[in-house]
Symmetry: C2
Subunit: 220 residues, 2 copies
DNA sequence: CATAAAAACGAACGTTCGTGCTATTATATT
DNA sequence: AATATAATAGCACGAACGTTCGTTTTTATG
């Protein structure tokens, strides 16, 4: 009865896998506050009421733990922001979904300490090794998603074909990062609203006449 | 003969003060790469071929060392970027001096690992305590300098009075931070040029007719 | 030049780091 | 239910952390 076997090993996975996942979920939150280097095995074990060695056995090394944490953060990000946005129709709605999701994420609605990847980016931008490479790969993929969404909006004739998609993606990214900075560091509670207004203005500047209305509210 | 005494204690300072300064100069470079927490007393002592305890004696604690490092970074930043720009005439020249200096700084021409304060901002934005407070104070001051320079350019009738000075300062800051990210993490060597062009376009968009020409080169 | 003060050193403290072992539970399969 | 296997705990290790202390060397002053 291979079906039953599969149901047991897939649907209700091994316990080790489940604890591993719960470890990584805690690791992402902790790292978004303390940084990926500040993320410590002992601290994480305390938080989960596990022994250091028991937790450590799930990963061959601290670097493995860091890599797995980055991967988990990526999965959460894709699940929470990218996938819902990609479910919307191509063009302005999808682009707006990405921007709004990105702002929500940056505002700390997804990870505890603000944007996990922005923090990781600046923590590892002067280092080298597999962890840095993993962060770089995620960030490149994210910029590509943004750029493709803009190109899609151009194909849908919502945004002028003359606009530089990659440049606009970079502007959106920069403004969101600036908002993250103003909110988390300077405690500027209006930073997110200002950033959203700013991003909308940038998009309006390159919108075509037959573009659907770009409203200030959360909808597109 | 108080004059001689003063010459000895002021012009040629005590040795301790001099080594303290050289320690802090090294600390700024090291922290711009490893972060302010990753900055370690033993590592710093090795780099300077000093004993840990000898170095430590200059500071009462690691937190003191971090605070002194932030202060030294601030002084270098003011000396190298803010002061030369403030020496230029109020209006567009001064504003352009600040922007160009800021971009140079971000490009890593001042600190080893890119922008010290951007890295420190994201490292401490989820913490609390005196070090975070010091970073916040420096960043607020810097945004204020930028904002005042824009307001000055408005007074000089180089930039439209209708423009929102603080909003423009925030845009400039965000774009430079994005360029720092693209250069240091993604190794995008054109990031600085693109950011400069972008910033110039933002300024041009609010320039008055009698504004001096905004050229792409380094001059204003 | 002598001498008091300042600066740097060397060794050690208690902790915590990451990482190995071995033993002991808990889980899954027959 | 018995048994094999996976998961966790316990303990110890060497290294590095921030920090303290007493000593020695260097510097500045009368």
């Amino acid at each position: 009865m291979p079906g039953a076997v599969q149901r047991k090993t897939v649907a209700r996975r091994r316990k080790g896998e489940r604890t591993r996942e719960s470890i990584l979920r805690a690791a992402v939150d902790l790292a978004s506050v303390e940084g990926l280097e500040g993320l410590t095995i002992g601290r994480l074990a305390d938080e989960l009421k596990m022994s250091k060695s028991g937790l450590f056995a799930h990963f061959g090394s601290k670097e493995d733990l860091q890599l797995a944490t980055v991967e988990m953060a990526r999965q959460i990000f894709v699940e929470r922001i990218v996938r819902p946005a990609l479910a919307r129709p191509e063009g302005l709605p999808r682009l707006m979904g990405l921007c709004q999701g990105w702002l929500d994420h940056v505002a700390g609605h997804v990870f505890k300490g603000g944007c996990f990847f922005t923090a990781a980016s600046f923590e590892f931008d002067s280092r080298s090794g597999p962890v840095r490479d993993a962060i770089v790969a995620v960030m490149r993929a994210w910029i590509d998603v943004l750029t493709r969404a803009i190109a899609g909006a151009q194909k849908a004739r919502h945004i002028k074909a003359s606009a530089d998609a990659r440049k606009l993606a970079f502007e959106v990214y920069s403004l969101a990062m600036g908002a993250n900075w103003a909110l988390q560091l300077l405690d500027d509670k209006e930073a997110m609203n200002k950033a959203r207004a700013n991003i909308l203005a940038r998009i309006r500047a390159v919108a075509t006449p037959n573009c659907p209305p770009i409203k200030d509210a959360k909808s597109a």
